[in-house]
């Protein structure tokens, strides 16, 4: 399956970088520099609020089973894609995402999620991000539930 691999050793966590991954994602998905629209986010680690870590979908597919309209489907590569027309904005996927990587944005009907387009990979100055094809996703650090 294809997903975005995050090398946490290399990730700068926003200390020196300009959070280029977030901006690149928001620009690619919604043509905006407002990082609220980004599927990849640097978020505080649970219990360590001064430390930021990458939070992004690992294509685990839990949301696919939860979606009542089959708007979320895994493609042949294993990437979970959202059919915006079929989405009814119930946001069960957002509540049930194990890593809380499905995001709601004020003014946007559908939730925002990573489609493994690779825009953030190119933008990352430390080379922390990589598109990979592996049998199963690695666990990511979940945001504090």
């Amino acid at each position: 399956m294809r997903y975005l691999h995050v090398d946490l050793e290399k990730c700068d966590g926003g200390r020196h970088c300009q959070r280029e991954c977030e901006v690149a994602c928001a620009k690619t998905l919604y043509r905006t520099e407002d990082v609220a629209y980004s599927a990849i986010r640097l978020l505080p680690v649970a219990g360590q609020h001064d430390t930021l870590a990458i939070n992004v979908c690992n294509q685990c597919g839990v949301c696919v089973a939860v979606c009542p309209t089959e708007a979320l489907k895994q493609n042949k590569l294993g990437v979970v894609l959202l059919d915006k027309k079929a989405c009814v904005a119930c946001y069960m996927c957002a509540g049930f995402c194990p890593t809380l990587s499905m995001r709601t944005v004020a003014g946007l009907h559908e939730p925002v999620k990573c489609i493994v387009c690779g825009a953030c990979v190119k933008a990352c100055p430390t080379g922390a991000l990589q598109v990979v094809d592996k049998p199963a996703p690695e666990p990511l650090i979940p945001a504090g539930r």
Binding site: P68, T69, V88, A89, M92
Partner: protein, 730 residues
């Protein structure tokens, strides 16, 4: 769990021929609209006698006082009927209204419709809260309520096409009325593609609704995973009977494709915030709390048994050694897991479980493979435990046939249990039942009773009159002691009890008997607060609970919400709050939801005030129809204490202790009959004291009448209400 959950008997091979037989009797165009701030401000009125289709405005006054849902239903019904109206008079109304919050897809449990009519069983208004897509799709077609009066001269369907903007009344002579078939066929007839099926919802009843007083309505939705129509029931009070008496075979609504913002809410982000918060709670805690996502309300079966609250053998006992045969883990394995089971979009509590692959054993559908919607707790407790039938396959059979025949499973369970007790006590016998051996545990006899009800034949036709009329019929025929029949016949106001034992909880005796529509647990469920946790020890405490909770729960029905996401999932820190029984964080959510959709800011106190107007209106409505006074709030003794020797002996230690410590009587040397009589006097007096305290807290007269001053305080002192209460000392 079925190996292939999409495998079932097909009924749609012949829909073109069936539809070709329809004759359009009336077609009226309308302009579809979407609600703004939760309301369209339009009601659709249909008179089936004259075949007229008209629109009525929903006024600001209606919204201020009655909010929507059950409130709108009661208001329209009041206009439609007179004190002399009977359930089968043409002017009786069926009103379906989803409420201003219904149809939002963000907050779990937000797709409910409220159905109101004059009940064939009680003669007073019945209100029933039901899932399925009909209400929200009707609302997104343009209507806040549907009001149906009159009677058609032949079987008709009413089609609301919110995509094309047309209302049609059509004959439908060939389709069966039984719901599992009717819903499939009508969905296939009116959806224009497979993808369109989710935009179609059917309301239907069934063949037993045609021959009994206890018919229910089934509201469908299309399950995209199972590729099947699923059913939820507006069960109580015989609404399906009124529906078929009007010769309605089905209502069809084809709405627009749903989006999450169709209510045009005042503040979408505010709704989203509380919705996602609750989804997360359900994700995090449902596995530790109620297991609703895996088992639905069937998770309660062994819990109720453990607390001596599961009705067994017509509410005589509260537990049974065989309960484990129908316990939650059985259903966990029978229900198809891992697919969404919400009866409206966004319900992550997903309690609408489906048992796929049931092979029907009896009756006209014998051999068919069907998906059974449920069983829910009430169905399991009523049709299984209360009748002594501890077999999951027979429970699925009863559940399936009740649904498709259009019969309330709660009512059917309670009335069958009553018949079985009468049989066991010799009040009935094989001759009197026409050959049915109604002994405890006889599942085949139970099913034959149900099939007779559907055919309108034999003893089943008598049973379909309900417990209240059966008591009269048996007494008239000299079958049994009328007092015993009254004591063990578990009905009040004409409605059968739902499935909890209230004998050891005074508050729940009131929770059942002091209800507006009859003894249904949706007004107040206080057993754990009262009996287990001892949180409401005094009469005043119980009265406060019987003031607050019925009003709080009424609010769900005004708005088109389900009760379950309120307290069948709780925040992790709920027990540390000041009032855990109220689930304060979820009350906050409801204030956010209402304010966020309608733009009208409300507080938690406003929730109670909003409900109190409608609740008192309904009480006055009952009085207007001849049933809303103290004398109508007195329960059968079976729900209050032990009627028989066996019941006393099953809890002898508890009752003897109560005699000694609470009543001040030494039980030693007394016969069981003497102890029963003393206990009865004590408990009946205690119940009367509870009624005094509750009426006082509700601001009613000692006869249970809301006085004019109360109506003025609530802003419902309309002349027609004042006239009713004045005539009764209010």
């Amino acid at each position: 769990m079925a190996e292939d959950y999409t495998k079932r008997t097909e009924y749609t091979h012949d829909v073109d021929r069936l539809k070709a037989a329809h004759v359009v009797l009336k077609e009226v165009p309308f302009t579809p609209s979407l609600p703004v701030l939760g309301y369209n401000n339009r009601t659709l009125h249909i008179d089936l006698t004259t075949l007229t289709v008209t629109e009525k405005p929903v006024t600001q006054r209606m919204k201020d006082i009655f909010i929507g849902g059950r409130g709108f239903g009661l208001w329209y019904l009041w206009q439609a009927v007179t004190p002399a109206t009977k359930w089968n008079d043409p002017e009786n109304d069926i009103v379906i209204s989803p409420g201003p919050l219904a149809g939002n897809t963000q907050y779990p449990g937000s797709g409910k419709s409220l159905v109101v009519t004059l009940s064939p069983q009680t003669g007073i208004p019945i209100d029933s809260n039901v899932g399925g897509y009909f209400g929200p799709l009707m609302k997104f077609s343009g209507f806040d309520a549907l009001e149906i009066q009159g009677k058609a001269s032949e079987d008709v369907i009413i089609v609301i096409d919110g995509q094309k903007g047309a209302i049609r009344i059509e004959t439908a002579p060939l389709e069966p009325s039984d719901s599992h078939v009717a819903a499939e066929i009508f969905t296939a007839e009116y959806a224009e593609s497979e993808a369109d099926r989710r935009n179609v919802s059917i309301v239907s009843a069934g063949s037993a609704a045609e021959h009994s007083l206890i018919g229910c309505l089934n509201f469908s939705w299309y399950d995209v995973r199972r590729k099947a129509t699923r059913l939820k029931q507006a069960g109580r009070g015989g609404i399906g009977t009124v529906f078929r008496d009007k010769k309605i075979k089905a209502l069809v609504c084809r709405g627009p494709q749903v989006r999450g913002d169709m209510n045009h809410p005042a503040d979408m982000a505010r709704i989203t915030k509380v919705g996602v918060k609750l989804h997360k709670e359900i994700h995090d805690y449902d596995d530790q709390q109620c297991h609703m996502r895996r088992q639905g309300t069937a998770h309660l079966i062994e819990i109720m048994d453990a607390y001596d609250l599961l009705p067994v053998h017509n509410f005589q006992f509260g537990k049974h050694p065989d309960t484990e045969k129908i316990a939650s883990w059985i259903w966990d394995a029978r229900f198809t897991q891992g697919i969404p089971d919400g009866c409206w979009y966004g319900c992550s509590l997903a309690c609408a479980k489906g048992a796929d692959g049931h092979v029907v054993r009896t009756g006209p559908y014998k051999g068919h493979i069907v998906t059974v919607d449920g069983p829910e707790y009430e169905t399991a407790a009523g049709c299984a435990a209360n009748c002594g039938i501890f077999d999951p396959d027979w429970l699925l059979e009863a559940n399936f046939y009740c649904d498709t025949y259009g019969i309330c499973t709660i009512t059917f369970g309670t009335l069958t249990a009553f018949i079985m007790e009468c049989y066991q006590r010799g009040i009935l016998n094989k001759e009197r039942t026409g050959g049915l051996e109604m002994t405890w545990g006889n599942a085949e006899a139970q099913m034959e009773l149900l099939h007779q009800m559907a055919r309108g034949e034999g003893f089943g036709a008598i049973a379909g009159q309900g417990v209240h009329r059966m008591k009269q019929i048996f007494a008239e025929r000299g079958w049994g002691d009328p007092q015993l029949l009254h004591d063990i016949g578990m009905e009040l106001k004409g409605l059968e009890y739902s499935q909890y034992m209230s004998k050891e909880s005074l508050a729940q005796q009131g929770g059942y008997a002091l209800t507006n529509k009859g003894p249904q647990h949706d007004e107040a469920w206080l057993i754990f607060m009262d009996m287990v946790n001892k949180q409401i020890p005094t009469f005043e405490d119980k009265a406060e609970a019987l003031y607050y909770f019925p009003l709080f729960r009424t609010w769900f029905g005004l708005n088109g919400l389900c009760k379950l996401p309120w307290n069948d999932i709780e925040p992790a820190d709920n027990a540390q709050t000041d009032e855990p029984a109220k689930v304060p964080d979820h009350v906050y959510n409801y204030c956010e939801l209402f304010s966020g959709i309608t733009g009208r800011e409300i507080s938690k106190e406003d929730i109670i005030t909003m409900s109190e107007k409608v609740y008192n209106f309904q009480r006055v409505f009952n009085i207007r129809m001849g049933k809303g006074l103290r004398q109508h709030d007195i329960p059968p003794y079976r729900s209050v204490g032990p009627v028989t020797r066996e019941e006393y002996e099953s809890r002898a230690e508890r009752y003897d202790t109560q005699l000694r410590e609470e009543i001040g009587v030494n039980p030693e040397g007394l016969s069981v009959e003497e102890k029963i009589a003393i206990t009865r006097r004590y408990r009946e007096e205690r119940y009367q004291k509870l009624v005094d305290a509750v009426y006082k807290r509700r601001g009613w007269t000692p006869d249970g009448v809301p006085p004019v001053s109360k109506l003025q305080e609530l802003g419902i002192d309309f002349p027609e209400l004042v006239e009713v209460v004045r005539a009764h000392g209010g």
